[in-house]
């Protein structure tokens, strides 16, 4: 049995409400090696800015994901909630 330590993070992403912005975030998150534990997305129709909160976990440092999400054209900003949690995953 092996175990790996997953760090869990809460991201808050601000994005222009453009086509497929959510799909882009999901694709980058998966490709860069982060599991999505939960998410919520809302749009402010006044300014067409979407706020996406996403709970992710990975062995990898969160800075890798933040930098990649920030590169997406429609992203206005990414913040990470400071309350980091470590969870142990066991596999046979």
């Amino acid at each position: 049995m092996s175990s790996m330590t997953l760090n869990k993070y809460q991201l808050i992403i601000m994005a222009d409400d453009k086509q497929v912005v959510l799909e882009r975030i999901l694709q980058v998150t998966r490709y860069r090696g982060f599991l999505i534990n939960g998410m919520n997305a809302e749009v402010n129709t006044g300014n067409n800015v979407a706020t996406i909160t996403m709970s992710v976990s990975s062995e990898r440092p969160i800075s890798l994901l933040i930098d990649q999400i920030n590169k997406l054209i429609d992203i206005k900003g990414v913040k990470v909630d400071n309350s980091e949690v470590q969870i142990q995953q066991h596999s046979a």
Binding site: D16, Q19, E23, R24, Q27, S63, D67, N70, K71, L72
Partner: protein, 554 residues
């Protein structure tokens, strides 16, 4: 919005392309892009009909890389669009500015599994820098301007614009006053200049590690100036070749899996890496934990996401290399280190005194390199010939060596050479290919024939998928699985079928005259060079091994 002239979406596309200086596009027509091809009929933009959309994408890549501009390709919906994907992925991996225009089924039919309908917008997410699908004619012009801006902004990359057929046919009368502007994603500059200067002045054994970003940043002059003034020994990645002046006595050649012995040993012994436009690619580092184990790192890059991605930087300088690198230029007291590496360069110099009459591929490519005119643009496919070209040919600018670096795409070389030749009609363009690779986009010989494009093809033929065969011999107990190509077509006859002059050589004594004949020929030419099928590329750093533990023979 001003200007009142009624245009269809298709006609608007070509007006915007011309506003961005586009003179040439590569493509293939089909049902869902017919209104665009109808507009092309009246346009001054010159279209090159490729014989497969993948060929069109690679020609656009070659055009962009050779000319330092944006390459444009067109394809219809469904299979036309999916055939572009490999080219777009290649452009993404190598940061090449390409704008791909795809036709789409009419908006009313989208999502109905219509004939030749595929969600290319969805498929594009993983293989483009950005993509658009235009569902309102009034958005088309803005989107097209944005596509060009995004392709060239920051780290370059491919952008796809999917345009449904009804949008291509729809009319628009108002035009934008001026080009749109992207929102400015201003970020605080990350510039540890003083820390970097401190690292630099204390280094005894520094190495300048040069990547493809140097050419992209149009910073060849600044990097050469830095290398000359600091006297810092340098190594290049595959895509960085040509950035350092070939006459620089402190240049050690390519590093990495098939890098020179001197380059790899120098990096492993270095105490400081000054990384310019490079990303610690796995083919460069070998076993990452053991790469340059004693070196501090100063990392220059335009892309924040590359800093600390695979190797932590002790000082990071983010932004425009052209402006930033001169800030670090200073004289260094590293004479002993220079002398040691110059000696290594001499001790480990390539040898071309291969015994026997058979043709030694490195010798052929060295001869091509010696005989080709200055400012020749060389493209390659992928495999042994690619590594031999990188090792044994000399390039005086990164835009003169076009090879699929990140994606390693067989089939790249021939269509990329077509694009390069069209963008630089007065320069010689040579495609170095292999007998496996050339068959991947061999249909582009028809494009060469149609437009009489004077590309020279040097076909290194070992009747094998040589690189895979080499690995099967070395790492899979010689179990040669599906790498024999002894039933290849007659390449000389094949070239002649496309009205391309061709010749086969099999002996070392024929090499020089054949290359001279090829280079002197006024039109396209294919030179088939038969080599020993057992020839390997050396040195080789085995997978997951430190770069100083390279194999040099079996």
């Amino acid at each position: 919005m001003t200007k009142s002239k009624t245009l269809t979406g298709g006609a608007l596309l070509f007006e915007v392309l011309q506003e961005h200086g586009v003179q040439h596009v590569f493509g293939y027509p089909g049902g869902a892009i017919m209104p665009i091809y109808d507009a092309l009929y009246d346009s001054d933009v010159k279209h090159f009909l490729c014989r497969h959309e993948q060929g069109a994408a690679f020609s656009a890549v070659g055009y962009a890389r050779a000319a330092g501009t944006v390459g444009v390709c067109l394809a219809t919906s469904g299979p036309g669009a999916t055939n572009l994907i490999t080219g777009l992925a290649d452009a993404l991996a190598d940061s090449i500015p390409v704008v791909a225009i795809t036709g789409q089924v009419p908006t009313a039919a989208m999502g109905s599994d219509a004939f030749q309908e595929i969600d290319i917008f969805g498929l594009s997410l993983a293989c483009t820098k950005h993509s658009f699908q235009v569902t309102d004619i009034n958005e088309l012009e803005k989107v097209l301007h944005q596509a060009f801006e995004i392709a060239l902004e920051g780290r370059h990359g491919p952008v796809l614009v999917d345009i449904p057929k009804d949008i291509q046919l729809a009319e628009v009368t108002q035009r934008l006053d001026k080009l749109s502007h992207l929102k400015n994603k201003v970020k605080l500059p990350l510039a540890d200049i003083s820390k970097a200067l401190d690292l630099l002045t204390h280094a005894k054994q520094p190495i300048l590690y040069v990547g493809g970003g140097v050419g992209m940043a149009n910073a060849v002059e600044e990097v050469r100036d830095f290398a000359e003034k600091t006297g810092m020994p340098s190594v290049s990645t595959l895509k960085g070749l040509g950035a350092i002046n070939p006459d620089n006595e402190n240049h050690l050649g390519m590093l990495g899996m098939h890098g020179t012995k001197a380059a790899n040993l120098a990096v492993q012994q270095s105490d400081l890496l000054v990384v310019v436009g490079a990303r610690f690619d796995d083919r460069v580092t070998g076993k990452l934990d053991e790469f340059a184990p004693n070196a501090k790192v100063i990392h220059f890059d335009i892309d924040t996401a590359e800093i600390n991605k695979r190797r932590d930087a002790d000082a990071a300088i983010l932004g425009d290399l052209k402006g930033n690198l001169p800030l670090l230029t200073t004289e260094l007291d590293i004479a002993d280190w220079q002398q040691k590496l110059q000696q290594m360069n001499t001790d480990f110099a390539w040898r071309y005194d291969h015994p026997g009459d058979s043709i030694f591929a490195p010798g052929v490519l060295k001869t091509v390199s010696d005989l080709m005119p200055s400012n020749t643009c060389v493209t390659t496919d992928v495999g042994q010939h690619q590594m031999w070209a990188a090792q044994h040919m000399t390039f005086d600018d990164p835009s003169n060596f076009l090879t699929s670096g990140g994606m390693g795409t067989m089939g790249f070389g021939l269509p990329a050479a077509i694009g390069a030749q069209i963008s630089r009609p007065h320069d010689t363009v040579i495609a170095v290919s292999g007998d496996g690779s050339i068959m991947m986009n061999v249909q582009e010989l028809a494009t060469i024939k149609r437009y009489q494009i004077p590309v020279k093809v040097v076909l290194i033929d070992n009747a094998k998928l040589g690189m895979v065969r080499q690995w099967q011999d070395l790492f899979f107990d010689g179990r040669l699985s599906e790498t024999d190509l002894s039933d290849n077509p007659d390449f000389v006859m094949l070239a002649q079928a496309f009205d391309i002059k061709s010749q086969l050589i099999t002996k070392k004594s024929e090499v020089k005259a054949a290359i001279e004949e090829m280079l002197d020929h006024d039109g396209p030419y294919l030179l088939q060079v038969k080599i020993d099928a057992a020839e390997n590329v050396w040195p080789l750093v085995p997978p997951n091994t430190a770069n100083d533990k390279m194999m040099e023979s079996v």
